[in-house]
Symmetry: C2
Subunit: 345 residues, 2 copies
């Protein structure tokens, strides 16, 4: 493989829908990205068959890994005993420089622990973060929220690092020139909230000129999908609760809407006529479409796809990985972290 | 006034929509509750006019209070200088035993601070909590979530108290015989999450037999509207982020749905036909309909209505107060807190 070729390393065993959904995702992404190759990790026999059926033999190298990380495995167990798992193998390809990006649908805790253990944190980064794309009213259609669950704690320095990581991700991943950064809090007034948030406010605010971003200050939960901000910084506990609360709310509304359309003949007809527009809407705000959660702050790019994602969702995560690899995101992240390191020490 | 008469004390000045929305709310509630009386606090001249126009003179006593608490006032300022505000006056009627319940749409922080300052915490309660009604798939149509913003911190004992307060509220307020209690966390496995959550898990779990409730363990953000739980316990920072995130998500979906219906002629027609059912749906999941956030753990009932609530929302908060006053909620809360005090000390 030559250096400019983009290779994506994929854990085929982590999806709740099984390897077929993963190979479907590769197929969807491969069609859009003709020069990209894939290393697929998992049970060789069954995956070979799926790859052959999808006519992807020339695009995929298959590496055998018979064990899989279950959703119930503790991260510490996987670090001790997980060498033969498809997840370990998928990360290993990035560590060895054979691929630029690792994509997995598996157990988030184990994936983060293994990524930290094998790839190591970037110099100067205390806590890596998971950044997600949140459907929003922005032109782009989503905002970046981090951390949504890498770690349950974050102090002011961590929050400052999240802001800088998010800044780089927004620039390199999505071409936003002057991103707008906000800190998630229970009020927008400067005196409100936990002490580490007030300290992070000062740290981030004072960096805005030099790093050329706009600091919008504190934002609240209802501002997460706002068009007035691009990057929302929070600790991983709060971020995880927020993202799952949004998912629960969307599911509740979907369930209630479905039964509202079934109220009577007229509403059924209305639902039928409006269906194509509503299906488009569902695609637009479907978390599967903006499915890539990315681990920031590591020596390599690792993307976590939703465990229940289908082929479309997985393809979306792979496509995000390809864009980042093309943009030189990883080397720019290293550069920024080195500068950062000088700043907060 | 004799003892059995129910009287609701209402801050007429706190609403973003002005005193008219508040008097509209009183009118809506008064129609449904013929034996209830109201003490209305605010600028006497304008309120008298509104009350007269609504033909409520025989039901309302008006107490003059020319100052109002703004959304930007700090709680500490109001405690020092707020004696002439309508909010202070409204709480005072409960303190003096002239009303059983205080309802205000004003500044939440100031209302909680004043309520604590004037009414005092129940014996044995460390941190009072704000409980909200969350639209859900439950038979009742909502779940109880607390704390959604009284305090930004909570340790395991606070969380245990929230569980017991929620239990009493569910029984007395809504007649749920054996409520199901969950703790909000980033995963459902016992080993996950912050240390105080694991300790609260043990405390709440061990009380389930004696207090006759079902403990469902940890729940995640997407479980908040679930039909598998009635009461969700969390700290006020996380609860506040969650409730506002849900609001933001619902607003995003509403905005996107509106434009989806405008895509073309067919979808417009579909939207028109489905409109009555969708309007019913909006009512069902409209936070204004389940608008009463209640302060638990104080010597008296204080209900916070949404600042932007209209007459319907305010009536809903008043109606909640009336039900609680009728149910003997307050005296049962005192009884439970005394038992509780013995338990966790």
């Amino acid at each position: 493989m030559n250096q400019t070729k983009i290779v994506i390393s994929i854990d085929a065993m982590g999806s709740e829908r099984g390897p077929k959904a993963v190979v479907d995702g590769i197929l969807k992404s491969a069609g859009l990205n003709p020069n990209v190759e894939f290393i697929v990790h998992g049970e060789k026999k069954s995956i070979s068959k799926l790859v052959k059926n999808s006519n992807l033999q020339t695009r995929c190298q298959i590496l055998n890994a018979n064990y899989l990380v279950s959703m119930h495995d503790k991260p510490s167990q996987i670090i001790r005993n997980g060498k033969k798992t498809s997840m370990w193998s998928a990360i290993e390809s990035v560590k060895q420089g054979k691929a630029q990006v690792c994509v997995s649908c598996g157990n988030t805790g184990a994936l983060m622990a293994l990524s930290m253990f094998r790839l190591r944190r970037l110099k100067g980064v205390n806590r890596p973060a998971i950044a997600c794309l949140w459907p929003s009213l922005n032109k782009l259609g989503y905002n970046i929220v981090l951390d949504v669950g890498a770690d349950i704690k974050a102090d002011q320095n961590d929050l400052f690092q999240y802001a800088m990581m998010g800044l780089n991700y927004a620039r390199k991943g999505f071409g936003i020139k002057k991103p707008r950064i906000g800190i998630l809090n229970v009020g927008t007034e400067e005196h409100k909230g936990r002490s580490e948030l007030k300290l992070a406010y000062d740290l981030i605010s004072s960096a805005s000129d030099k790093e050329d971003f706009e600091f919008v200050g504190f934002v609240e939960g209802n501002d997460i999908p706002s068009e007035a901000v691009d990057i929302i910084v929070t600790d991983g506990f709060t971020g995880n609760i927020a993202i799952k609360t949004a998912e629960g709310t969307a599911n509740l509304i979907a369930a209630k809407t479905k039964s509202a359309f079934k109220t009577n003949f007229i509403s059924r007809l209305g639902g039928l006529l409006a269906a194509p527009s509503l299906i488009n809407l569902k695609k637009e705000i479907d978390p599967r479409q903006v499915n890539g959660g990315i681990f920031l702050g590591l020596n390599g790019i690792v993307i976590k796809s939703h465990g229940s994602a289908d082929g479309t969702g997985i393809a979306s995560a792979i496509n995000l990985g390809i864009s980042l690899a093309k943009s030189g995101f990883y080397s720019s992240e290293i550069k920024q972290k080195d500068q950062l390191n000088d700043k907060i020490r």
